[in-house]
Amino acid sequence: MESFKSVINYISNPTILVTAVLLIFPFIFPPTEWFYKINKRLRLDKLWTGKGLLVMTVVTISFFIFGLGDYNFKSIVLKPDNVPISGLILLLIFFTWLSMSQAYKNDALVEKGKSVDEYYDAPNDKVLVWPDLVYVELISLILFSAFMLIWSIGLPAPLEQPANPAESPNPAKAPWYFLGLQEMLVYFDPWYAGVVLPTFIIVGLMAIPYIDSDPNGSGYYSYKDRKLSVSIYLFGWLILWNVLIVIGTFLRGPNWGFFGPFEYWDSHRLEALTNVNLSEFVYVKWLEIGLPQSILLREAPGLILVFIFIGVLPVLLAKTILKKYYEDLGPSRYSIFVVLMIFGALLPLKMYLRWLFNLKYLISIPEYFFNF
């Protein structure tokens, strides 16, 4: 039992968790034909059958039930504001399954040359709204209201000590839906994690219909025809966003240190902070000449690297791997798409740089609050 817990504790470490997710993800949600074939070969599409749902649900629920036996797990999961997130996990599993199972079903129908489930022969196939839709809606609303009532009775809303601006709780956490952003603060400065990145997310989301110009797959669940777009979306939303929220909520304890779900939140625990800026790597560790006085010179390595990543890489990609997309999308759509992708990719990239090299910042100009 204890060893199982410590295994869970171990593998829920962001390093391992994120790596695992990154590795497994493309096989479950294949972005390209190649992955798709392997997905089929590994019979991973079985996940989206009734049995798959059963397995996933049973595993998740039994994990929760098992976990609730543990004091530490219980005290975190049952914190009133964390309860919705547990619910969210279950809902996500269910709705991912729901959409994917329908998508795979439709894919199969399309493959057989049949029309998809949602296909209808306009206008004959229409039904009147009254009473079918209105009634269903009414029932949903009543059920939901009933659910809200029981939820409200069963779980009192939290009210902690009165506000004390002089003493911050450890850890101080943002509302759960922003914990993804707060988790990014570990790797980026607030100007990026808190301002620029959210702006990119919002803009990126709004830009989706303008970048994904493929008219296929409108109005019905499908996967095969939209592999890349769906997998990118699922990666961004399901993984980056929700997994970071889960990590931020359940696995971050005092001093924003990592704690496994069954670990005690010991505020005395220390983590060795040995992070180094790129400029220090270059000038102090390798060249042993000390940091130059001039800021530009000092940060030159980082600036060059970032320039290559943002300025040169898209061009290179357009010429090589992404040539097809470049041609499909045209220069303006392509550049928006690639910039968004690149900034999205910065996050995992920076994570790994931190984990592997203890890299603090690529560019560090604290004089102007500019750390990147």
Partner: protein, 262 residues
Amino acid sequence: MSEKKSLFEKLASGQIWTSIFRGGGVPRSRRQRMMVVLNSVFLHLHPVRLPKHAVKLKFTWCMGGLSFFIFLILTISGILLMFYYRPTIEYAYTDMMDLTEQVPFGIMREIHRWGAHAMVITVWLHMFRVFMTGSYKPPREFNWAIGVILLVLTLLLSFTGYLLPWDQLAIWAIAVGSNMAGATPFLGAEGPGSALLAIGDINFITKVSDARFGLIGGRFLGEATLLRFYVLHCIGLPFIIMIFMAVHFWRIRKDGGISTPV
């Protein structure tokens, strides 16, 4: 039939009823069923007829509808809470305690709080569903963008409401959030580039003039912050979100109703 009308039927054919419900009577015929939707200010959000799959819960998950419904729940419970809550740092916390313990049906606070969480989740899932069915594709691109704005507004509504209990949970969550505003490039006192906006010895982006100040109304979280968040939460953001919701719903209909396979 004409001899023996039930009480309800009598009522339904009377002047009062017919003046209120244009269609009159129980909608039985196809025409009546259409009219009932067309003639109701509330129901005519819907089209009269729909593709079959649009009625299927399996397809819609009812998440958009639920989001709107929760918004209504939050509006009502929020208005009720406003009767007992004073947004000052002297009273906010104690009013919250009294709401929990003394106010009749103080469960309104739980409904409001959990409703808020639920709304974030339903809006997310709604977006998820819309993406998975590819419903953002032309001609619905713009409505997707509106939807994204609605998502952001939902998060902001929840975020502004988070401060109002004025407990440790509230102010530190907002502190974490609002400190990020202080790091806005150029416009935040601790953001990159703000130091460049200076002439001579005068710095133009300081703690009393940056984005964070505009958000929280002070250098620290305090009275002004609480009031600002309260006004935004109760009036400002609901006002904006309602405008966008109206556009969102309007555009659903104008963009050809629920998305269908072409």
